[in-house]
């Protein structure tokens, strides 16, 4: 997949990386996760850093409110803290919702499994077990033998054909921070789309997925 962004992009990337704060990164991670049709790779470093910053800030706020720092200043710091915590919580929560929704698919697809954090994997395991247990108890155990699998429609199925998965051929609305030039949507050989900076596009999720993963394009 050719981004057509040219050779100068490496330097640009570095520059934009240095000038982007974690708050900005967290915001775009949140946005992407919210708009993506599937679960994205867990942003471990970013979450870790954000957690640390939140903790530091919490300690600072606690300290200053005891030390008689101007209450106005303290409350402003608290607001900033609340905003960051909202982003982080919402980010984690969206991911849990996605895992819960397609739990069997997540469990049986190594590629997706690898995108989860350790805690999320634990959650997925438990969630899958519970759901399986529930299905077995309430319905499956009362069906004839060959219909008792929670993954297959019947004993005659060749593979797991009853696992809901996210539909990836949908479209998403996205925006690029910089000019990406002619972008080939697919290897179909058709005319490429010119992706200009800061313009909105509705594009098929599948085609731009690599760009989302590399951070060149933001979902909005």
């Amino acid at each position: 997949m050719d981004s057509g962004a040219g050779e100068s992009s490496a330097a640009d990337d570095y520059e934009s990386l240095m000038s982007t704060t974690d708050a900005e990164l967290l915001k775009s991670a949140w946005r992407n996760e919210k708009a993506a049709l599937e679960i994205l790779k867990f942003n471990e470093d970013l979450v870790h850093r954000s957690r640390q910053q939140i903790q530091l800030m919490e300690e600072m706020v606690d300290e200053s409110s005891q030390n008689g720092v101007d209450p106005l200043t303290v409350s402003l710091y608290q607001m900033d803290l609340d905003r960051t915590m909202f982003l982080l919580r919402s980010y984690l929560r969206i991911r849990l919702q996605k895992i819960e929704k397609y739990v069997f698919h997540v469990l049986k697809t190594p590629e997706i499994w690898a995108r989860l954090s350790k805690q999320e994997q634990k959650f997925a395991n438990r969630c899958g077990e519970d759901l399986k247990h529930h299905l077995e108890q309430s319905v499956l155990s009362k069906l004839p033998d060959q219909y008792q699998s929670h993954l297959r429609q019947s004993g005659a199925s060749e593979d797991d054909d009853m696992v809901p998965e996210p539909q990836l051929d949908g479209y998403v609305v996205c925006r690029s921070k910089k000019y990406l030039g002619a972008f080939q949507l697919d290897d179909g050989g058709e005319e490429p789309v010119n992706i200009e900076a800061d313009d909105l596009y509705a594009l098929p999720y599948k085609s731009i997925k690599p760009l989302v993963e590399s951070g060149q394009i933001d979902l909005v």
């Binding site: 596009y201 509705a202 098929p204």
Partner: protein
């Protein structure tokens, strides 16, 4: 046919869009003295009386609520600029460039800083008019947004909220057009129709045809005017509500 992607699940709520808009920078004139604030989201200040400084909108509103500053309305929010925009918005089929969050920003300012905006009533009604004209354009002319291929739609100069509103319809429509354009689909649905139970079973499992996104299949949006017409009606209704 099954379309398992839930457009509403991916859309942002109005509150979330406002949250994002609150990070936009705006100029304030503080009337207090305060050290620089080193936030997680960035460093702002120092604050000196009568010296203008840039802060995120949420901070501006917080200070404003406590009577600690006046907010300077952004440049585009003047009668002159807005009248210009409105005029070109009416004259042209295209969307005029406006801040991505113009709807949210103007609402926040109208709600919290009404006395800081010169000619607020005029400004407010201009913004409302612009919003109306733009929404009307979205409703009546989806094909004006772009005459490009239907597999890629360019939403030039559409704002966050406008994009959020059209998202469910646009993504659905593109998906449908794409499916109609792909010959795979026709064959597939034919074979599926024979055993009727296959249709009722999880549609997700029967319609799986990964990896063959046929984007090369050009499907001109104008040639499917019927679908477009339907879409317009839906959008029109939604925008009005």
């Amino acid at each position: 046919m099954s379309s398992a992607s839930e457009p509403h699940a991916s859309a942002f709520s109005a509150a979330e869009l406002e949250f994002l808009a609150e990070d936009e920078l705006i100029e304030i004139v503080p009337n207090l003295r305060m050290d620089p604030l080193n936030f997680i989201s960035g460093d702002f200040g120092p604050f000196r009386p009568q010296i203008a400084t840039q802060v995120p909108l949420w901070l501006a509103v917080a200070l404003k609520k406590r009577g600690k500053c006046t907010i300077r309305a952004p440049e585009w929010m003047s009668i002159d600029k807005l009248s210009q925009v409105l005029e070109s918005e009416r004259d042209s089929e295209k969307f005029q460039p406006l801040p991505f969050h113009y709807v949210e920003i103007s609402r926040l300012l109208f709600d919290h800083a009404r006395e800081d905006i010169p000619d607020i009533y005029m400004v407010r009604s201009l913004v409302e008019d612009i919003k109306d004209v733009r929404f009307h354009k979205i409703g009546t002319g989806l094909e004006i947004i772009s005459k490009e291929r239907t597999y890629a739609l360019r939403l030039k100069n559409l704002s966050a909220m406008e994009a959020n509103i059209v998202r469910p319809f646009v993504t659905r429509a593109l998906e449908t057009l794409y499916k109609l354009g792909s010959s795979e689909m026709i064959q597939e649905s034919d074979t599926n129709r024979q055993p009727p139970q296959a249709m009722n079973r999880g549609p997700r499992t029967t319609s799986r045809k990964d990896g063959d996104l046929i984007l090369g299949n050009i499907f001109d949006i104008n040639s499917s005017s019927e679908l477009l017409l339907m879409l317009r009606k839906i959008i029109d209704k939604d925008v009005r509500n």
